[in-house]
Symmetry: C2
Subunit: 315 residues, 2 copies
Amino acid sequence: MSNQIYIGVDLGGTNIKVGLCDEQGTLLHTYEGPTSAENGAEFVIGRIAEYVKQIVEDSSYEWDQVAGIGAGLAGFMDIPEGFIKFSPNLQWRNVPAKKMLEELLGKTVKIDNDANVAALGEAWAGAGAGIPNVVCYTLGTGVGGGIIINGKIYQGSAGMAGELGHMSIVPDIEAIQCGCGQMGCLETVSSATGIVRMANEAVERGERTTLSLHEKIEAKHVFDAAKSGDEVSLRIVNRAAYYIGRSMAALAVVINPKRFIIGGGVSKAGEILFQPIRETFKKYTPETAAEGVEIVAATLGNDAGVVGAAGLNLR
Amino acid sequence: MSNQIYIGVDLGGTNIKVGLCDEQGTLLHTYEGPTSAENGAEFVIGRIAEYVKQIVEDSSYEWDQVAGIGAGLAGFMDIPEGFIKFSPNLQWRNVPAKKMLEELLGKTVKIDNDANVAALGEAWAGAGAGIPNVVCYTLGTGVGGGIIINGKIYQGSAGMAGELGHMSIVPDIEAIQCGCGQMGCLETVSSATGIVRMANEAVERGERTTLSLHEKIEAKHVFDAAKSGDEVSLRIVNRAAYYIGRSMAALAVVINPKRFIIGGGVSKAGEILFQPIRETFKKYTPETAAEGVEIVAATLGNDAGVVGAAGLNLR
């Protein structure tokens, strides 16, 4: 076989997931195992190298066909250098991950942050396939983002482009402080954490809601209650959706993408979340900038990370 | 002489300005004359062609050294095709300006909107020289914008990128409708028109302000009064600046430029405008995204248009 293959690594705090893609971004094999981050960076990087070699060995491809290896992880990094300054979930500081992996594997390795990599995966082979300019939101514990321009991750001057969760968008009068230190970040209202916070506050205020029946409220409870007609939950969901819609309206006249993609655990809520996002977007975007722009759900699910990481060397 | 030269046209409702630049973006000559838009598109386009030929004739360069011609104007257009759909200040509809000029001049012509072209001028040879990613605001009657990525105008999927005046940024509770039809656009508060509106409203409400001494309030009066300590004027200037600062804070985590450039008539107000913009930006931007980012005044003034138009073929 003469075709080239690409390998992507999704390095999480708990598991390492490795995927093997063809040149079209089709995910052919995956391999997953524990990160065991407590053993330190050198151990984990060695384990990644093993997994990468293993997945090729287990496939019908040869090592020579591997055209590039990419990895995505959460943290602050010097992306061109592949140097991890600090990864909160791995508790790594100053790890030259790219260089270490290249030495172990003898292949080019590229590293990027997980939200950018997931965006690239969706743009390459998911909900944004064939569209040059897309903006992706990942709604989970936080709100991640990635901007794809002409099929490539757009990094900005200091690698801070696409940090959509830290767009300060909530008006002062109702803003709270974000984990990043700023006031009013999108993440404070539109992440699972933000939704749960608003739910707990409503219960503490003694509002009439079925949410008070849960010992520990999760974002899913809020969406389920909203679907069953619980008004307090509906108001919380609409608020989370409203600010996503408003941030998209701003991006429509800045990035002017053809498609917005929403992934991450929270996006599984479906239409109860998407409909108010679309309504808000339409209301706050000039017609010429909203025309033909779609707001869609991500399609790769948890595979977006490995697919996008594999794509880092191709795109 | 073997050097190439570039010609830029700034097509306004009242005047046509033509400029001749060298390969570094240095403006060597300008030529200006009336648009006489009332004579129709064919006449005006013919006049532009005459001016372009004239400026080369009057210079020490030969026609053969002209490597490209660009033009900027206000209006809705198909930028790749150089087709003007509608220009409000020229009252043109469906004018294939690029094609008409190319036929008259026998050279490649590129056309773009005036805010993009001014941004390119500043990025090429003005306040953004040598910086790959910059965002420019033009504060005048409206609020224009242009985004330069890797030294080129970023157009977005439908040419709507960089329409910064139409970022909906004012909270619902205090938003008014913009000329574009949307609520809460930056242009409603941070343009000369917005500043004058807020001033008139304050006077009508009977607030104590020296602005009430003017028969017809202009933006300049508001800045002058603010500099003299008029509290109402100061509040208006701070509000205009606040929303520019907040829009920049959002752009810092989206475009993540190295430099923000502010031009246009309103920007001449100077530090009384720039200081609250910088303070607001700092307050609402995560430290890692604000670090090293500068907010500076445009340096080319009214020449930004011709310089940027000249650069359309080079960049």
